[in-house]
C-alpha cells in the first residue's frame, strides 16, 4: 500500500483507451464515480418521491428540504425571472454535494478534487452568464462593466478593473471548490500518516498516536462541514453570477 497523500488523487483507466476522432478516450475511475453520483442522486430522489404523501415521512421530508433549499435560493437571489435556471442550480448543487460527500467515504475517489472538473463547471456557469446576458440585453449587457456615478476621467480604468474581476470569476469559483477538496483530503491523509509512523516506534508511540488520531477525527468532522458548505457556496455564487446576466444593475 502506498502511503503518501498524493496517491489518492491518481486517475487510472478502468476500460482501455479507445481511439475516437484522434483522441484517446478511456473510462476512468473518475468517470465511474461521476456515474455513481448520478445514480445516487436519481435513486434518492425517486425513493423520496415514491410515496407522494401530503404529510411527508422522513425520506420524503429530506427530498422536500433539498428541493426547497435550492428553490428558495433561486427565488431569493434571482426573483421570478430566475425560475428557468432552477434545474441548473439544482443539478450543480446536487452533483457537487454528492461528489464531496462520496469523497469522504474511505477508499472512494473525490471527483471534485481535480481542478479540471471544478474549473469546467465554473467556466460553464460564467459562459452561460455571458450568453444569457447578451441574449437578454444585447450589446447593452456590457453596461455591467460601466458603473454609474464614476467620473469620466477614470472610467476606462474602472471598466478595465471590472472586466478583469469578472474574468477572475470562473477561476475563483472553480479553484475554491478544488482547493477545499484537495487540501482537506491531503491534510486527512497526512494526519493518518502520522498515526502510522508513531505506532511504528513502539509502545510509547502507541499512546502518542492517539493525538493525531483525535485530530484526524476532528478534521473529518470539519471536512464533512466543508463538503456541504462548498456545495452550497458554489450554488449560491452561481445564482449571484446569473443575477448579473438577468438584471444588469448599473
Amino acid at each position: 500500500m502506498v502511503n503518501d497523500p498524493i496517491h489518492q488523487f491518481r486517475i487510472f483507466n478502468l476500460a482501455g483507451p479507445w481511439h475516437i476522432f484522434g483522441q484517446d478516450i478511456a473510462f476512468t475511475n473518475s468517470n465511474l464515480f461521476m456515474g455513481i453520483i448520478v445514480f445516487v442522486i436519481v435513486g434518492f430522489l425517486l425513493l423520496a418521491s415514491a410515496k407522494k404523501a401530503i404529510v411527508p415521512g422522513r425520506l420524503q421530508s429530506v427530498g422536500e428540504m433539498w428541493y426547497g433549499l435550492i428553490h428558495n435560493m433561486v427565488e431569493n437571489v434571482l426573483g421570478e425571472e430566475g425560475a428557468p435556471f432552477f434545474p441548473l442550480v439544482f443539478t450543480l448543487f446536487s452533483f457537487v454535494f454528492v461528489a464531496n460527500m462520496l469523497g469522504m467515504v474511505p477508499y472512494f475517489f473525490t471527483v471534485t478534487s481535480h481542478a479540471i472538473v471544478t474549473i469546467t463547471m465554473a467556466l460553464f456557469v460564467v459562459g452561460l452568464v455571458v450568453v444569457v446576458g447578451l441574449w437578454k440585453h444585447g450589446l447593452g449587457w456590457f453596461k455591467l462593466f460601466v458603473p454609474s456615478g464614476v467620473p469620466l476621467l477614470i472610467l476606462p480604468f474602472i471598466s478595465l478593473i471590472e472586466i478583469i474581476s469578472f474574468l477572475s470569476r470562473p477561476v475563483s469559483l472553480g479553484l475554491r471548490l478544488f482547493g477545499n477538496m484537495l487540501a482537506g483530503h491531503i491534510v486527512l491523509k497526512v494526519f493518518a500518516g502520522f498515526v502510522v509512523s508513531l505506532t511504528a516506534i513502539g509502545i510509547g508511540g502507541w499512546f502518542g498516536a492517539l493525538a493525531p488520531m483525535f485530530m484526524a477525527v476532528a478534521l473529518t468532522a470539519l471536512e464533512f462541514l466543508v463538503a456541504a458548505l462548498q456545495a452550497f457556496v458554489f450554488a449560491i455564487l452561481t445564482c449571484v453570477y446569473l443575477n448579473d446576466a438577468l438584471h444588469t444593475h448599473h
Binding site: L175, R176, G179, N180, L182, A183, I186, F232, V233, L237
Partner: protein, 75 residues
C-alpha cells in the same frame, strides 16, 4: 540553494497567507455574533449570508494553500 530546497521554503512562506484567511473568517463571524446579540430576532435571516461571506474569505486562504501544495507535490 538548489531548486528543491527553494520550493520547500516557498511552500512554507505560502502558508503564511492563510493567517489572513483566519482573520477574515473570524471578523465575519465576530461581527455576525455581535449583531446577533444586539438583535437576536434578525439573526437567523443573516446566518446564510454569514456562511457565504465566510466561505468566500476562506477561499482566498485555500488559494494560498493550493500554491503551497503545488510547490510541494508537483515535480
Amino acid at each position: 540553494m538548489d531548486a528543491n530546497a527553494a520550493k520547500l521554503i516557498g511552500a512554507g512562506i505560502a502558508c503564511l497567507g492563510m493567517g489572513g484567511a483566519g482573520i477574515g473568517v473570524g471578523l465575519i463571524f465576530g461581527n455576525y455574533l455581535s449583531g446577533a446579540l444586539r438583535n437576536p430576532a434578525a439573526a437567523g435571516a443573516q446566518f446564510t449570508n454569514a456562511l457565504i461571506g465566510a466561505a468566500l474569505a476562506e477561499g482566498l486562504g485555500i488559494f494560498s494553500l493550493v500554491v503551497a501544495l503545488i510547490l510541494l507535490f508537483v515535480k
